[in-house]
Symmetry: D2
Subunit: 331 residues, 4 copies
């Protein structure tokens, strides 16, 4: 299923080594100003190769809007976005053609589809997130008039916090031919109360599904999250006061609906599966093998997931805003 959302519907396409990745956004409200300049900065943030600590694939990732706008404004028609793949070296993956890389999707996607595109993971590659970020940038553009601001950050890497310590962890992993995981946090400020569609599309449910759909994410929590399991009710409940709440352990969502306070989401990112250290695996004939994965791989994916998570949150929120508009129009 490559469509996300009910009202602001985002369909993505594209593989690691295909011709292009992109998205079609259906249900974007009309009359929103939109050009490539609104989207490109998000792609630039996500792009690999920006820092010595990240993988070296060099892609210009220039977005082009193919439809859905007229004289610089959205028309309500579907908006198609495309980014051509340039710096793909499928040859890098030839040695891996016949083996399943541990921790990757190779084994499971072969089981599901009966075939797999071995070049960089095909559709299971992190490159598909580029399309999500492009679409998310459009969602952010739609949210701006409402005063919604979304910010992401890295909370910890391999259990440590603080920029220098986190950077040291990443270097150490890279030098050891290994990788590290981390925890990221995304916050949305300025959301109105009332967003979310109970019971199955409660806002936190939609957010959890959105975050967990990002490759390498293994856990999602809202507000106190797993910490809430260790609190008393008298500690967890945010007191209600005139004008709002005294505290936000709820992370901005109660009963599956936004309270108007900051929405706080954290996601756990597992360490990059592709490492130089030798690993045990099997080949497609079932024979046990050992592999070492060379090439241009991030020792830690968490920093690159931050913009993706921000964009997924934006997609959830614009979808919920449009849903709520159905009732607002009734007043």
């Amino acid at each position: 299923m490559n469509t996300f959302g009910r009202n602001f519907r985002c369909t993505t396409f594209g593989e690691s080594h295909g011709k292009a990745v992109g998205a079609v956004i259906d249900g974007c409200p009309p009359k929103i100003s939109l050009t490539e300049a609104d989207i490109q900065p998000y792609l630039d943030r996500r792009r690999p190769g920006k820092s010595p600590l990240e993988s070296g694939r060099q892609e210009p990732d220039q977005v082009e809007i193919l439809s859905g706008t007229f004289e610089g404004r959205t028309t309500g028609a579907p908006i198609a976005l495309i980014v051509r793949n340039r710096d793909h070296r499928p040859g890098d993956y030839d040695a891996l053609r016949d083996v399943f890389r541990p921790g990757h999707a190779d084994y499971t996607w072969q089981a599901k589809y009966g075939l797999r595109d071995h070049r960089g993971g095909g559709r299971s590659s992190g490159r598909e997130t580029l399309a999500r970020v492009a679409a998310g940038a459009v969602a952010v553009r739609c949210l701006e008039p409402y005063g919604v601001a979304i910010r992401g950050r890295i909370v910890e890497i391999h259990g440590v916090t603080g920029p220098e310590a986190m950077e040291a962890e990443i270097r150490a992993a890279r030098d050891a031919g290994d990788s590290v995981g981390g925890i990221i946090e995304v916050t949305a400020a300025g959301c109105p109360a009332g967003l979310g569609d109970p019971v199955f599309l409660k806002l936190d449910a939609a957010i959890a599904g959105a975050m967990m759909s990002i490759g390498a994410v293994k856990g999602v929590e809202i507000g106190e999250g797993f910490g809430a399991a260790r609190l008393l009710g008298s500690e967890m409940n945010d007191p209600i006061i005139a004008g709002g709440f005294a505290g936000n352990r709820a992370g901005g969502i109660l009963g599956g609906i936004s309270t108007g306070q900051d929405i706080i989401v954290r996601a756990a990112v597992k360490p990059t599966p592709s490492i130089r250290r030798v690993q045990r695996t099997v080949d497609i004939a079932g024979k046990e093998r050992e592999i070492s994965i060379e090439g241009r791989h991030d020792p830690c994916i968490a920093p690159r997931i931050v913009p993706v998570a921000e964009c997924m949150l934006a997609l959830v929120l614009i979808d919920a805003m449009l849903e709520q508009a159905k009732y607002r129009g009734e007043e």
Copy 2:
């Protein structure tokens, strides 16, 4: 949105103090044997008032199948399940008619809908999970021929493990007019590899959304979950060996698709919001008030959420199995 699933579509209805709760299941395969006896045990597990530690609302919760079966087998037509509410004492909630209970959905549902059913939370009440459990029981029935077995358990209560210690925490909370949270775990054994529909309905994404949609859940993780954020890649990757994997830190899902190993999910349950201890809140006129919530409330919701979580996992899995059948038929 009160429908869950794409293939095995489950629509629930019913409030805490309405006439009945129930579900309509659309897309259940035909020729599955099904009677009330297949469903009732799940409702009995979920029912309140079974132990001195749980709330006292006494409901017989007898399920009735209204449609969708003929001579004891499903026909492929929609299956309607209904459970009449008996022991509802809406009067218990009169004192709360004009205030918002902290930690509950009162405030946010009022913001969203412009009105709220104050009687026990209306649709936001935990009683709506009864319908999910009834539908989940049908899902379990459909999964049985495949050898899928789902088991849930409580991992910890208020940070402690072990049955006696957990029970002591719950008693202490109740005696103090307070409440405690916990962590539950649900496991599905016997699932085939290949389940899940990337990228947005990856199996873990569907599971995360399903669990987070359960009231009081504030976090969801798969396999190592948040623990993966603190591991090295060489530790996290499960080696692939002839016939499967050596290890299951992945929790049965890689690249969003099942591996064939046990699927392991954990959910964080916040402490029950309704406590006897005095709390600060406001009334519907915005005036600050103090309240103490008396009545029949669980000091810990986690035990009752276990069958709900098992049923949500069953609903996700049968949905994914039917999705995969579209391709299996092609071979």
Copy 3:
């Protein structure tokens, strides 16, 4: 697929001889006044046995609202409606247990599901339309504040118009142990311009799908319909004048979106398949047989389809109104 609509989502259930038929409406706006008295008149109109010309099954068809309202107003929670089947005589169908009735769904539903409920057609029975009418009545209630008025009528029976001539055709058919078809027309006045969601949920596309889903309908047309195929462009185009249009050959829909003029829909209803006249068929063993269908069957279904068609149009329109509200709220 037993759910209709995207915003005003109506899931129906129930067979001819099961315990009950009913519907769950999800997405009904909150704060709409609603009681059984708003729905019952529509069921009464649809009920069999009201005239000597119609079938004799005597059903009280009393509707009960099980959820989704509080103090006589909708809450935004799912609304469950139920009607118990009383006067079912499954024994009437025993003689037909092993044969496929020509013109009915027996053969095809057996092919699809691998089994069939022979009692009155099971889920393929016209009785399932009762649930649609109940839900449609709620849709009509929601449309009233907008001034939308929906009216249906019979245009012709067996090629003739005029009440006496049409009645004569029905009597003649019944006396001959045969049946006749007809054409019905449903009109919606007072719709605003702008309804419809191009390209695949254009208003006319949604209406066509809705009408064709009614059993026995074999054709649907809008405005001039098939007559437009025989006009010149200069004849078909409705001139645009200040304040609207001079003419309505378009039937209220242009480019798939409502113009603000009356929406005019016609549906072709085939003759009732169940007739006393002898017909050739096969039994479930594939052996050729002859059957004569006795019992309580309408010689013409068209009159009873009128309220069903009105209700389907109401469901389409309220769904489109809520969809359009997403944009209206933006202005």
Copy 4:
């Protein structure tokens, strides 16, 4: 709503004078051989300017596959198709910028979206059908292994049949600066019995919605269609015999499910709204005006709708085949 289908999901984009039109197909089964050569012939059939009787817009309409295939076979990942617009002369439409063309979508799309792309109708243009045809060609490719064959033809133009008479009607209309309508018929042979998903996605309902979504279509019928309204039951019912049916007045669908016989669909196409003859209209200020639409317009759209209708039928059938596969896998 620009996505069609539940299993074989086709999302289209693109306007008359935007950069490109295209489609993303999600849910195409893996391992189907697919290259541009499978799609291009369908686009060539649909292309304008092939005969002196059709409009003169010269477009190469060369399709490019951007994703979803590997080594010439589908992978199960989304398939993106794109066709760049070349011969667009937006200037042709400048004179129409401020008026609403009668019979077109200008008025209604302005009412809905609050703005409109006046260049050739924008998204309401017939050019969006190019994307449907591209996607339909992929659907046809997927249906081939099942032996399903889809054929379309023109039944009548302006009330007359026979190639010479129909051509004469078109010439006469063009010479008069007017246009004519027609009726087309599409047939699908070789479909298995059992396709369709009652009650709301019965096969005929899905087909009706699909055909009515094509611009200029004002009516849809199956089998005898509106003719059934004038038959007796004894005439309409197809007798069932060993091995099938004696007759096919049902048009291949009974109870909303395919019988295994030819599926026969007819659609009524209204005359082209753009005519040279003077028409009354208003401008965007509401002032009454007269216009004459010059330029490259077909005097009859019906011939160009035939391939579009074939492709829509293919999309419905592959979607239904995949739906049915969920159950077939169970046997």
